[in-house]
Symmetry: C2
Subunit: 172 residues, 2 copies
DNA sequence: GTCTATAGTCCGATAGAC
DNA sequence: GTCTATCGGACTATAGAC
């Protein structure tokens, strides 16, 4: 992340990353499928955490409440300080390649969420739509947690974004 | 598309594509920024069409109605026969790289749609959410138009998917 | 760890269309 | 005379095969 931040993703070679880490190029590719993947190392853990929390929500909780609980809970898996995430997002924002990779990770998260909701008895279209609304809440909360410097924690931002989505749904 | 279909995207080289087209590799890259882009050549036209229809909808039309009109209208820009789109989607489904590219094109479409809705006076969060619902309608209708062989045209599928989304919103 | 194929860029040269 | 399309060769970096 230091190298990507200094000179940009496209202008950083895997050889340079390997050198700074005291490894060889080949070793890098043994750990990460490609040059982009190194920035998304924690995404599997995030997805597993979300799925297990939503699956474990009380059976009588509404689908959206179950999803909201799962997203709030993700605060534990995110870096302690938002500055770390902010630096990472700045790197991603500067590279189309990295944005593509991020989108497919988020799509995978959404699909896993929808599958979990179907297991809770929701119909396929309702599950997909609820998952997409959940992703919108996640993106909004994450963005604000990164950008706003008022120190509110991630879970608070999730509750706020959820309230806004609900108000929007009620009004129109 | 013929070559990607025969041997798969990853196993097709740009040299082979150029050879079949009677050109050189260099000429391919003059026309397309990379090997994936050749499959998404029509996407700009699609986006412009959607934006201009939504922007031109009657001022008193609801945001979702304006979006629905724009999506219905896209039938004109899609290939005449769904088989063409089906073959293309099969190629994309077989390659993670192509899925990434497709997701970023759809994200661009969603962002353009949201911007158009804001110009119509909608607030930023409402515009984004309406755009995402529109994209869900588009994806659903497109998928069914490709997969179902009953000959119903794209616009009919759009109206059906929209009705389902509305019913879902009303019920929960 | 070595070797190699392929994607994608940079340089420059040529030629027809309007 | 400018614009746009073609081609050739050399070059770097990613990523896969072994």
């Amino acid at each position: 992340m230091a190298l990507y931040g200094e000179r940009g993703f496209e202008n950083t070679t895997v050889a340079e990353i390997a050198e700074r880490a005291g490894l060889t190029e080949r070793t890098f590719f043994r750990h990460f499928a490609d040059k982009r993947e190194v920035l998304f190392a924690g995404s599997n853990e995030l997805q597993e955490r979300l799925v297990s929390t939503v699956a474990g929500a009380p059976a009588d909780a509404s689908p959206l409440d179950a999803v909201a609980a799962g997203i709030e809970d993700l605060g534990d898996v995110l870096p302690d300080r938002p500055e770390t995430s902010r630096a990472r997002q700045a790197i991603i924002a500067a590279s189309a390649e990295l944005q593509e990779r991020e989108l497919i990770k988020l799509a995978s998260l959404s699909a896993a969420l929808a599958a979990t909701l179907r297991e809770r008895g929701l119909s396929a279209p309702a599950a997909s739509l609820t998952a997409e609304i959940g992703m919108a809440v996640f993106r909004t909360a994450f963005e604000r947690w990164i950008d706003e410097t008022d120190g509110r924690d991630f879970a608070e931002h999730v509750r706020e974004a959820l309230g806004e989505v609900r108000a929007l749904a009620a009004s129109g």
